[in-house]
Symmetry: C2
Subunit: 451 residues, 2 copies
């Protein structure tokens, strides 16, 4: 029996000059590699050692590259990419009531969802996002396309107590949501169906409890918006005498696995509850700044051990879905807000988009790290460009220097979906034309509304 | 006399699908163009009209491009690009005293300045910065190289009351500064020499007054740091009973044209003084956040009519010199800070990097706008990439969507210095190797210090 025969046959070895598994010790492996079989990681270590141990069908070179887990976008509304830059610099209620809601009512149909979803996915794959958590109308279309695009997602049909694109009100939206769960549960490894009640202020307690019961009975994650604005908290206190977190907790909402987008305006008690009830808090810094919602107490949430992830929110309030900007902002703004240059380090900000973000979306046992047994979701980042030089510390550059432009390869479940800045899945082939068509419809509506 | 003979002969017509002159009316000219002769703009208008009126030696096409004035970096330390990511997430005094100052003392020599300056220029030209205001040691080397790189600058020899790289103390630094002014004044149209006293807390009143007198006698701009941290203001109040702005104003410092970097911690009276004395306030959002200095009251400064520009500060506290990130942050963070989504609009943020920024560096009569008689400093921005689509409003995309990657052409004084993401000046040819050499020295020092 010779040496070669002793090697274990696998699909892929992918290398990097620097491999950051995003483990608790902030390990950096120089000349590292990941061994992949099927959609899973089978080993992580030094490249020489892995090359000696495994016989791979394909070896992906790593010269000039940093290898890290794929980024996780914990909260977005991907089809809204067609509303990129549609309305800016407006008070939240003007923005929503005079621009976004009327535009959605007039323009959001199945074609809009198709093009918008794909545009969102294109941007995510180009910028190294491998998993996203979404909430938008016609989620079934988005799910079909996400499968074709090869991107991992947690998707849900929004449930809300009034008519919205595609539904007549709560009962119909909840029926659609349950049907969506039945259809997608355990169907496609890339797609995890979730319940997506819009918020505690747009869905009644009775309806939230109905969703909660379904979620608990079927072991389904719930994705919702919580404590985004001071106004929301004030209204909650007025109506219930409780903060949104206290109110939801009062009827056991957090017995489910909850992904709570925003979590901006929190009391100390809310933060304690977030830890105790294992709420995944998704920080959306661009959106919170742009809509003037405020600064989430991220430093305090992290100190308490809450799982905090990052999200881009929809492109209408961002105006993109690029997680590098969210990491960058997260590493900057809390230092300024807290007057503490040690608040939310580069490593912490990056962890929120990877390992800690995975815990926040309740997938910490299979996503967010380069680790044996985990899904083979990872990206290569090119650090060799003149403007990325010199590099003394990869963690620093990942938070403060790199942009989406440096992402050279995106792999999801062992499949390369973007390489050398080119999207590989065929579903993107006609996207540029589709977007022009939809954008023309939006422009026509903008130019003719109110006439 | 035929039609062709009637045309005025000029050097260049450059076009853009959208031309934003950055005038007070926020004009957008569709299918616009700029006519250029020598280093100046001779006309701005619709492309068809300019093509009819002028016979240009060269026509630069504008399909898929937005044409705007070049960006102005109002405060940086360009050679510090070699300290990119050198030390992060540390308290200011630890960062300065244990990292930056010792590294500067050990490493900053003429070779370091050469490579560092060029790296800074490369990044600026690639990201569309056409003018920068600098303060760093061995400014004479930086000036020579800026001329060769074809980038416009305001440069000064730092004056400081203690020994620093290249100088033994204030007297020598002031002698060097005066010699620098004599050498460069009216020598090179791209280079404007300035005085650069480091700050009111590192240069005595007597020495500041000596600089002020020279500045007034020779009509020279002064570039300095003012009110960057709460600590600086507290120390000023303790020592003089006055804020830094009050203290400087008390001996007529603002009778000179002053470029005041940072201006973070200001009283209402300081803001009134800034307006009355025409102080140019340079906002450095990334640096102020990263070093936890705080949030400059930009919204209030703008409301009072103060000329506010933007700066990247040095790459050691940023960690780059990319003005797109500063524009983006400026359009976001003040909304969050003020809880007002209308605070500092996309247009205002962009103006701070162009027309208003030009006023802040006391060059508002020749830079920062596309306007007849102004310097031909401008950039083309490519809006056609999939991830920039759709575009409903160019101003919105310029603040919230585009990154340095979209800059397709950089022109300074009528000369194209970057085109299709390639730097044209020969001075950059060996830069990659030079940087590796300098970075190796820095890494060696980092690994061996304290041993």
């Amino acid at each position: 029996m010779n040496k070669v025969d002793e090697k274990h046959s696998i699909d892929i070895i992918i290398k990097g000059d620097y491999l950051l598994p995003m483990d608790e010790r902030n390990t950096i492996i120089e000349q590292g590699a990941v061994a992949i079989d099927g959609d899973k990681i089978v080993a992580v270590g030094e490249a020489d050692s892995l090359i000696n141990s495994y016989k791979a069908k394909e070896v992906i070179r790593g010269e000039g590259k940093i290898l890290i887990p794929g980024l996780i976008n914990g909260h977005t509304h991907s089809p809204m990419s067609l509303f990129r830059g549609f309305a800016d610099d407006l008070p939240l209620m003007t923005w929503l009531n005079e621009h976004i809601f009327p535009a959605e009512a007039a323009l959001v149909d199945k074609d809009f969802i198709r093009s918008g979803s794909l545009l969102g996915f294109a941007e995510m794959l180009m910028s190294g996002t491998t998993t996203f958590v979404d909430m938008y109308f016609y989620a079934d279309i988005t799910a079909d396309l996400a499968h074709k695009a090869g991107i991992r997602s947690m998707l849900g049909v929004p449930c809300i107590d009034f008519p919205a694109p595609g539904t007549s009100g709560f009962d119909q939206s909840f029926d659609f949501a349950k049907a969506f769960i039945r259809k997608w549960k355990n169907k496609d490894d890339l797609i995890t169906p979730v319940f997506a009640p819009h918020s505690p202020y747009t869905v009644s307690q009775e309806n939230l409890q109905a969703i909660l019961q379904e979620a608990l009975d079927n072991d389904i994650v719930i994705h919702t918006h919580i404590a985004e604005t001071a106004h929301e908290v004030a209204e909650s206190l007025k109506a219930t005498g409780k903060t949104p977190v206290e109110y939801l907790n009062s009827f056991g909402f957090f017995d489910a696995s909850v992904i709570a987008a925003h979590m901006v305006h929190l009391t100390e008690a809310d933060i304690v509850t977030a830890k105790e009830k294992n709420i995944g808090a998704i920080h959306n810094p661009t959106s919170n700044l742009k809509l003037a919602s405020g600064f989430s107490p991220v430093h305090q949430l992290l100190d308490r051990g809450v799982s905090v992830g990052l999200g881009s929110d929809g492109a209408a309030s961002n105006n993109n879905v690029d997680m590098w900007q969210e990491v960058h902002l997260t590493a900057l703004i809390h230092k300024g807000k807290e007057a503490n240059p040690e608040a939310v380090s580069a490593k912490q900000a990056l962890s929120m988009a990877t390992c800690l973000g995975a815990k926040a979306i309740h997938q910490g046992d299979k996503l967010g790290q380069l680790k044996s047994g985990y899904k083979a979701d990872m990206i290569q980042v090119d650090y060799t460009g003149l403007l990325c030089q010199p590099m003394y510390n990869p963690f620093s550059h990942l938070a403060y220097v790199f942009t989406a432009e440096q992402v050279a390869l995106t792999m999801i479940g062992g499949k390369v979906v973007m390489k050398d800045r080119q999207l590989l899945p065929a579903v993107f082939n006609d996207l540029a034309d589709e977007i022009q068509e939809q954008a023309a419809k939006v422009k026509h509506w903008m130019n003719n509304r109110g006439k």
